[in-house]
């Protein structure tokens, strides 16, 4: 036995939160990891014993998620984000600097055991790019100087936590808006302040309506899911069977991982009660008695705030038993991710929430509305979606349609004021860039991802396209889409082959490995692109890249694999000369030069 009685009872407490005990596995593994330092065979055996699960199962699950470790690491773990937005803002220099200062390479621990250096995928904080995390603290934008002072502080602090450096994330640009109206108020996370600003009135109103009436109102608002797929929210709720005898669940997708997207994290950190209000309304509308918020593990700050808000709301009778005297009960449980982008995909999320490897399920039969969590009907919604719901029920459908409908756009990359912007649906890309202060250093825009790295790359010629589901989807560029509303802009210094390689590698490392084309295709593409970047390109490589992408197109099991070809096709089409340059076997175009 390596786990203390404390740890074991904490695991039992987690198990009691869920209808099925395996759902507590991801959290339980963190309990063990935090206590032992890593998941040793003994620690895994103990978790298996407490949870009465096979060791093989829990070890297999643990190995799927990147935030578990199987050997000891340093006292502090430094993770440097290397995804696109951070790459565009110079994360490479930060990483190099850390390598030099710590005298270790990525994946290694310093000789004194103080630091382990790692890289991370998009931490959903691209407004502060380049971003890094030290243990549970997120820091950015980082400069070499910041790194130095940070390391010094850790080196000199006897108890580092006492004097942990904190770099303030730049505030979201102030704006007159609906959803983001109070996001910059420092006390918005407090129940008192939230209620003072009209909070939970939407819930009160909803509870006075029939559940179907609530659903109708949401349907009328025209709200479409903000997780990426854009499915009409009211219609989704209507799929839930009416028979009240069948238990059903609401699951909230707070796993925000699409590179360039950080609006959900912003909402969670800044306005957690709005989310809780949206959850209660959605749950009431579909008749769910339990709701689960699946929060990305890296969102430590957000999770703490959410749990605090949850306690406040429950204490005030806004959640839990007999909400606002209506007779309606709702239990909200906060669950954790463990480092897997694919867990954001709805069926994978359900697998993960059931304590398994986050591999997507086959649809049919596993449509969440029919066979979702624990094979029960389940509504799955994104954080932003439910924040809209809270607003709609508070202010009414008419005002919502009049003023908007709004969407949140995460703007990052070579932009003067990166941040989350609320704009009416249909605002053009160019207008959004202007709202965000224009291009960084006033350089010309070369290209952008309009909907996160899963969308196609659009060259500057498309900047007048409206940021709207249909307008982007209708473009003559394969894979162009609004997605999660992540606008990553790139200026004329950008090396597109580099960007595409990094994009491919993201999907390669986040592929669940279930299906052949995604698992093998991403690996192959990554190898070819790296070889080209290393000066070993061949004339047939352009055709090869295109053909590998074709082999993946329409053949993958889930949208993750299908997200790769758009970047390949669009970059080969619009930035072909850069690829041709590399195909000659020599180095390519100049590197980015931003400070």
């Amino acid at each position: 036995m390596v786990l203390s009685e404390n740890a074991r009872s904490e695991i039992r407490r987690l198990m009691a939160q869920f209808p099925q005990r395996q759902s507590a596995l991801l959290g339980a593994l963190f309990v063990a990891q935090d206590e032992v330092g890593y998941l040793s065979p003994d620690a895994l055996a103990d978790v298996a014993a407490v949870m009465d699960l096979p060791v093989s199962e829990i070890t297999s699950v643990a190995s799927f998620y990147h935030l578990y470790r199987f050997s000891p690491e340093g006292r502090h773990v430094i993770q440097v984000c290397t995804n696109i937005s951070c790459q565009l803002r110079g994360c490479g220099r930060i990483l190099d600097h850390l390598r030099r200062r710590l005298q270790v390479d990525v994946g290694e621990t310093t000789a004194d055991g103080a630091f382990t250096l790692k890289t991370a995928e998009c931490l959903a904080a691209c407004e502060s790019a380049p971003v890094m995390m030290v243990d549970t603290d997120r820091l950015g934008p980082m400069s070499e100087r910041d790194v130095d002072s940070l390391l010094d502080q850790y080196a000199h602090a006897s108890t580092p936590s006492a004097s942990r450096p904190r770099l303030a994330p730049p505030p979201v640009a102030p704006q007159t808006s609906m959803i983001l109206k109070y996001i910059h108020e420092p006390d918005q996370g407090e129940l008192e302040a939230y209620r003072r600003r009209g909070g939970y009135e939407g819930l009160r109103r909803a509870l006075g309506m029939s559940p179907d009436g609530v659903t109708d109102e949401v349907e009328k608002s025209g709200l479409r899911g903000r997780g990426g797929a854009g499915f009409p929210t009211g219609r989704k709720w209507k799929f839930i069977p009416k028979d009240p005898a069948i238990p059903r669940y609401v699951v909230i997708n707070a796993d925000e991982g699409e590179p360039g997207t950080f609006k959900d994290r912003t909402l969670l950190e800044g306005d957690p009660h709005r989310l809780l209000e949206g959850i209660a309304i959605a749950s009431y509308a579909v008749g769910a008695k339990q709701a689960f918020v699946y929060v990305r593990r890296e969102f430590h700050h957000a999770r703490t705030g959410l749990e605090r808000a949850l306690a406040q709301a429950s204490g005030a009778g806004l959640l839990g038993h007999n909400i606002l005297g209506s007779g309606y009960d709702l239990d909200v449980v906060v669950a954790t991710g463990a480092g897997a982008y694919i867990a954001g995909e709805e069926t994978s999320l359900l697998e993960s929430l059931e304590g398994r490897r986050a591999m997507p399920r086959l649809k049919p039969p596993y449509y969440p509305a029919v066979k979702g969590l624990y094979s029960r009907p389940t509504v799955l919604n994104n954080v932003e979606t439910l924040c809209h719901v809270a607003w709609i029920l508070t202010e009414g459908v008419e005002r919502y349609r009049q003023l908007g409908p709004p969407i949140l756009i995460s703007v990052s990359g070579h932009i003067a004021r990166p941040g989350v912007y609320e704009v009416p649906l249909g605002t053009t890309i160019r207008q959004v860039i202007e709202r965000a202060g224009g291009m960084l250093d006033g350089r010309p825009c070369k290209a952008c991802f309009p909907g996160g790295s899963s969308s196609a790359i659009l060259p500057a010629a498309y900047l007048d396209t409206q940021m709207d589901y249909d307008a982007l989807a209708k473009l003559d560029v394969y894979g162009s889409m609004l997605g999660s509303g992540a606008l990553i802009v790139m200026d004329d210094t950008t090396n597109m082959v580099e960007v595409v390689a990094r994009t491919v590698e993201f999907y390669r490392d986040e592929s669940c490995g279930k299906c052949t084309p995604c698992r093998e295709g991403t690996m192959w593409l990554g190898q070819v692109l790296r070889r080209m970047l290393a000066g070993q390109g061949r004339s047939e490589d352009l055709a090869l890249l295109d053909s590998i992408a074709r082999g993946m197109t329409g053949t993958c099991f889930c949208p993750l694999g299908e997200s790769v070809p758009p970047a390949i096709y669009s970059s080969l089409r619009f930035f072909r000369s850069e690829f041709e340059q590399y195909a000659k076997g020599a180095g390519g175009v100049p590197q980015a030069v931003h400070a």
Binding site: S56, M523, G554, T555
Partner: protein
């Protein structure tokens, strides 16, 4: 329930195909003889859609579709040959091959590899992949039978899903993710499974191979002989692959009513004994204290002479579970009809007056019906250790919603699937079963009834009360327990209340065939009571058969020990290790004037015999065997026997001739015909009713008073004798792979007891009773209650029967720690299996 589903009509490659609604496009195409390549799909598991090989084009659908996951719909127009389909399949195959070593010439799968076949049929034929391949350490060994080559693995997930869906043992798992994904066990430890051979069979490439079969043969060199596994009572259908007169491997033969397409690892890897160097090749006789080879004529003359000289009442025969039905019948005819003794019993491992002797062995329901149960009650039946493949059926029932109640002295390996696990003190299970019927027996002893929490009993009783299709099984650990008679009665009453029959899960190998053939003291062929069958026997055998019952096996041993026998003839059995009380057996041997052993090996019994006759084993025999469900199945001789070894029935025929009787047969068919005349309903593939046991026979002597002494400070533990699949005596010990799987002898004790001794997992201890001792390694587990020690019976090196005393109801032991090896040192195979 059995509504015919509506049909849908679709077009595949221009052919109209009508299939029941719910059929997949892949199955519809297959039914129309249109081949679609597959890797991940396996028809015993729900579709997964992972490999993406089975792509087809469907009109009005934008993307190519995976035919294994797509349900056929009316009016669907499917193409399996469109250029896009071909391009898609080529792409998938190319993706699969970029990281595949293509070492077909040295791969065991070569020649029967779907990937190899697909590469020829659909592949692009050249590689555009110039990057370094993913490399894994070369093949890794995962225990005694399994070898994993991760470079060959195409990640079809079949093996993983087999462990999750079919066997429930989660033996092989996926680790890491994306292109780092690999199949493995945690930390590459030996795989923990009783069914891993099946994963080798369903692996579509040579990633999983059998260590015992590595490089043994190429598929095209093998000749398959269909037969039946006789290593437990399930009777799984097998094919023996034969090359150069030797069995190179055992494969499952599809048999929907029995094993479907699966086997257990004992079946897969348990044929090694057939070609073991210690097989007996020539008859042996004792000369000057030593066993020396002799001719058949000499040996048979000697045996016949002693048999003729002895009064029939002083001749007895023991054994038979390893015979064919025909062997058993001829043996019975010889002893009853020619020699005139009724002292025949194949049930040598029963306690005197145990419940095993008063209930008919075998299943009353069919194996296939297990699938349909809604509540399964296991009383003293360790299903995965005793009848492994039946567990796969139960797993299916569980998938359909069946609940499992187990009343056992040790928690079962399948405990995760047991909804109500009532683990009780050994010898107190009957009271627990009684309590399940509602007639609660107040128990004054601490810890509730038999040590079981009463709320758990109440919950289980409620569950049982709601059953509409209960399946009730009672097994060895209940029947042979001190309260076995009471347990059997309680189970019978419970089943009667549920209006279902009792399945008596008792007997190894062809025990059922031994009973069918008539190797019981009180019943002739077909289990017919002697009085009932005497007339028929008279007609066919031309001999009068004494109507009084003969002695049971324990009585035979006891009588032998008292000097009451002149000749004991042991056939295909090893009483020295199997009878309950080894001390008594030794006494019997000492006082026996003449002991004949007819077997394939020089067993412990044979070593002390006066004559040893070498016999064939099942894969060398033609004939039939019977399974636990009473199914009559055909054995085909796959290989010839060693030296001069003979099939058992021919030995009895030769002895009959020397005893002046005419008992000649041209072959097994003629014997079978004769049996059919005596046994109503006997036919190939028919299911016979459970038979045997003392049908309506009152116990001749009242059960001996149970001397259940209070626990003494000297011998504080109650011994639970149990079963372990891979440790079951002479044959498994001589199949190298199985002996390895069995590992060293072990015993299991509760952590509190272990802490008190103190011993740790893997430490060596000696278990001592007033009668003997056994050295074992400790497994520490809460699967047994404190104060109890579980000891598998089958290890020659630690014979449980050395500890027991036939006169005592319970065996009490003490445990003495030997120089402790560091905790877990015996680990690996032995230590890790603890639940």
């Amino acid at each position: 329930m059995n509504q015919v589903p509506p049909m849908v009509t679709m077009t595949i490659d221009g052919t109209k195909v009508a299939v029941p609604k719910g059929t997949t496009v892949y199955q519809a195409a297959k039914g129309a003889h249109i081949e679609i390549p597959i890797f991940c799909y396996h028809d015993r598991m729900p579709p997964l859609g992972a490999c993406r090989m089975c792509l087809v084009k469907v009109e009005k659908m934008a993307k190519l579709q995976t035919s294994c996951t797509l349900e056929a719909a009316d009016g669907m127009v499917v193409s399996t040959i469109a250029p896009e389909v071909k391009a898609g399949q080529e792409a998938i195959l190319e993706f699969l091959l970029i990281n595949h070593p293509l070492d077909c010439p040295i791969c065991d799968k070569g020649g029967e590899c779907p990937l190899q076949d697909q590469t020829y049929a659909f592949g692009p034929g050249r590689s555009r992949f110039i990057e370094p391949k993913r490399d894994f350490a070369k093949p890794v060994s995962l225990g005694r039978v399994l070898v994993l080559d991760r470079e060959r693995c195409i990640l079809c997930w079949r093996c993983v899903r087999f462990g999750e869906i079919i066997a429930g043992d989660d033996a092989l798992k996926g680790f890491e993710r994306g292109f780092h994904s690999e199949i493995n066990t945690p930390f590459t430890l030996p795989v923990e499974s009783k069914f891993i051979g099946n994963t080798i069979a369903i692996c579509p490439v040579g990633a999983l191979t059998a260590k015992p079969y590595r490089f043994a043969a190429r598929p095209w060199d093998n000749q398959a002989v269909s037969s039946v596994c006789t290593l437990c009572g399930v009777g799984c259908a097998v094919d023996f692959d034969v090359r150069g007169g030797a069995i190179t491997r055992t494969r499952a033969r599809e048999s929907p009513a029995v094993n479907d397409i699966w086997l257990c690892d004992l079946g897969f890897f348990g044929h090694g004994y057939v070609h073991h160097s210690e097989r007996l090749r020539r008859p042996l006789v004792r000369q000057d204290g030593n066993l020396v080879e002799t001719t058949w004529d000499n040996a048979l003359d000697l045996v016949a002479h002693r048999l003729r000289a002895a009064p029939p009442s002083r001749v007895a025969m023991l054994g038979g579970a390893r015979l064919t039905n025909e062997d058993a019948y001829v043996a019975g005819r010889f002893f009853r009809g020619v020699l005139g003794t009724n002292h025949l019993d194949h049930r040598i491992d029963t306690r005197p007056q145990s419940a095993s002797q008063s209930v008919p062995w075998g299943m009353a329901v069919s194996i296939a019906e297990i699938d349909q149960a809604d509540v399964i009650l296991l009383v003293g039946c360790d299903v995965t250790e005793e009848y492994p493949v039946l567990w796969l059926r139960m797993k299916r029932a569980i998938a359909h919603g069946a609940k499992v109640i187990a009343v056992t002295p040790k928690a079962l390996e399948i405990h995760r699937f047991v909804d109500h696990h009532l683990v009780h003190r050994y010898g107190e299970g009957a009271a627990v079963v009684r309590a399940l019927t509602g007639s609660h027996v107040e128990d004054s002893r601490a810890g509730g009834l038999g040590g079981v929490d009463s709320a758990a009993i109440t919950a289980a009783a409620a569950r049982l009360g709601g059953a509409t299709r209960a399946l009730v099984m009672i097994g060895r650990a209940a029947l042979e327990a001190p309260d076995g008679v009471e347990a059997a009665a309680a189970v019978r009453d419970l089943a009667a209340r549920l209006s279902v029959p009792v399945n008596v899960m008792r007997g190894k190998g062809n025990a059922f065939g031994a009973a069918l053939g008539g190797l019981l003291p009180d019943a002739g062929p077909g289990g017919r009571p002697l009085a009932d069958i005497a007339g028929d026997l008279q007609q066919i055998w031309n001999r009068a058969v004494a109507p009084q019952s003969g002695m049971t096996a324990p009585e035979i041993v006891e009588t032998g020990a008292q000097g009451g026998l002149d000749v004991l003839y042991v056939v295909a059995a090893d009483p020295a290790t199997d009878v309950l009380d080894h001390t008594q057996w030794k006494a019997a041997r000492a006082r026996l004037p003449f002991l004949v052993v007819q077997d394939a090996f020089l067993t412990q019994t044979a070593q002390v015999a006066d004559v040893v006759l070498p016999a064939l084993v099942a894969p060398e025999k033609d004939g039939t065997v019977s399974s636990i469900e009473g199914r009559i199945q055909r054995l085909h001789a796959a290989v010839l026997g060693p030296g001069e070894a003979r099939q058992d029935w021919t030995i009895f025929a030769a002895l009959a001739e020397r005893c002046g009787a005419e008992m000649a047969y041209s072959g097994w068919e003629e014997i079978f015909d004769e049996m059919q005349a005596l046994i109503p309903g006997l036919a190939l593939d028919a299911r016979m009713n459970p038979m045997g046991g003392a049908i309506g026979r009152p116990a001749r002597t009242p059960p001996p008073p149970v001397r259940a002494e209070a626990p003494s400070a000297d011998f504080p533990f109650v011994l639970i004798p149990g079963e372990a699949l891979f440790a079951r005596g002479a044959m498994s010990a001589r199949s190298a792979a199985i002996a390895d799987l069995a590992g060293e002898p072990w015993a299991m004790m509760h952590p509190d007891d272990a802490a008190r001794l103190p011993v740790a997992e893997g430490d060596a201890i000696v278990l001592q009773s007033p009668h003997g001792a056994a050295a074992v390694r400790v497994k520490v587990s809460t699967a047994v209650l404190a104060g109890q020690v579980f000891l598998p019976r089958g290890y020659d090196g630690a014979a449980a029967n050395a500890l027991a005393d036939a006169a005592e109801a319970l065996t009490r032991v003490r445990a003495i720690a030997l120089t402790p090896t560091s905790a877990g040192a015996g680990s690996g195979e032995v230590g890790r299996r603890t639940p």
